[in-house]
Symmetry: C2
Subunit: 209 residues, 2 copies
């Protein structure tokens, strides 16, 4: 479980603000998650998410003192970009990044909860589909949805995926799932806080790609 | 026809060597081609090709005097990388880039030659499929092939595609196709020369993604 558990997300403060620096450090390990999926098909998604992170970081490093929390970035960009906002800059990058993060959250949660296709207990398609439907599908036009369905065929077996999450360490399945559970605590709280912030700032868009 | 004809590829010298600087300048306009396809689905492909070009350029600018022709780059990398070569560096980037260039060449040639699906005369799926089969399919595993089939549904209508190639200028279809024909002369010669170079240097690989 090295990959996930070595890179726990930090606990949020009581006001649920997300520290930009700590967030960027924690998400920098997320693209590796897509390597656990095994197929080169997913490297496309990895670059999309990498692009989001790079874009947010580029804004942050311009003025770390000004952008202490993610909310500072959104507010500054709302100020700076007028009518273009929120479809612009680090706001747009975070809008999409949070959907990818939610996808991962629901997928891991579904595995930890034991959701299974009883007829194909070693497949994770039901878990991936659940995550896709809740996190991404509504933002995808029908062609990208078809592409998702094709890509789903490249999903790894459950056992291989759990092994990849544990990165070579010999961990029993139940320990691995317990670790996933542990990881999800701060991770889910962070993703929830970002979604709430987008709602509060009226920064969410629902156009499709 | 601004987009294509304003950016003619230069004529090759008798020895068919490809000048790196002129080549990089000419291909820098190629990613725009994917915007002519209309759908955001193709921006993924655009970034893949952009990545190839960036990689070749990064090697070139390190020592323009050493890398006057593309062949100089391949030979220097063969020298430098030993057994890793040719799956490495600008050689790998050019290996894939040339396949994208061949795809575009065959698609445009097929349009200029008047290949049509008589039942759907305003679709270009037959032309795209022909280009895919000849340039790319064998390098794609079955899942990426399925993704191609889904992406094909996002292909533009023939009339819109020709208009996009002409970038807003009011050009009659036959003039547009004549211009495509003209563009293809040096373009095809350049792509052919790169393929020949890969064969001669034994630099071609046929692994699938
Ligand atoms: C030769 C054959 C060729 C065929 C052509 C192939 C074409 C393939 C196209 C497939 C789509 C791949 C997924 C990428 C989708 C992306 O389009 C979307 C929107 O992406 C956002 O777009 C914004 C502008 O609207 C900004 O550019 C954002 O960038 S910005 O940083 O610049 O602001 C960017 O992230 N991201 C998404 O939908 C996010 C996706 C997260 C995915 C999470 C995991 C899913 C796992 C699935 C497992 C089964
Ligand atoms: C949420 C939903 C998510 C679903 C997941 C979506 C996943 C989508 C994946 C689809 C594949 C998209 C096409 C990209 C394919 C690429 O994988 C390949 C190989 O790409 C090469 O790989 C090398 C290593 O092997 C190096 O990294 C090269 O990079 S390097 O520069 O670093 O050396 C890189 O170009 N390029 C290709 O096959 C080239 C493609 C050219 C395309 C030409 C036009 C086709 C037009 C089709 C019109 C209908």
């Amino acid at each position: 479980m090295a990959l996930l558990l070595d890179n726990q997300f930090p606990e949020l403060p009581p006001d649920k603000s997300v520290d930009t620096k700590l967030f960027l450090e924690a998400v920098s390990h997320i693209p590796l998650f897509f390597d656990c999926l095994g197929s080169k098909v997913f490297s496309i998604i990895k670059s999309d998410i990498n692009g989001n992170i790079t874009k947010i970081k580029a804004v942050y490093v311009q003025d770390p003192a000004k952008y202490v929390t993610l909310q500072h970035i959104l507010e500054a960009e709302r100020e700076a970009h007028g009518a273009e906002w929120p479809k612009v800059g680090a706001t747009l990058a975070l809008m999409w990044l949070k959907r990818g993060l939610r996808f991962i959250q629901i997928l891991l949660q579904s595995l930890a909860d034991g959701d299974r296709d009883e007829n194909n207990p070693n497949l994770i398609r039901v878990n991936i589909t659940k995550a896709y439907e809740q996190a991404l599908k509504k933002y995808h036009g029908w062609i990208v949805q078809k592409i998702f369905n094709a890509a789903l065929l490249a999903a790894p077996y459950r056992s291989n995926f759990l092994k990849a999450l544990s990165k070579g360490e010999e961990v029993k399945e139940e320990d691995c799932l317990a670790n996933v559970h542990q990881f999800l605590l701060n991770y889910t709280a962070t993703v929830d806080a970002i979604y709430e912030m987008f709602t509060n700032l009226n920064a969410e868009l629902d156009y499709t790609v």
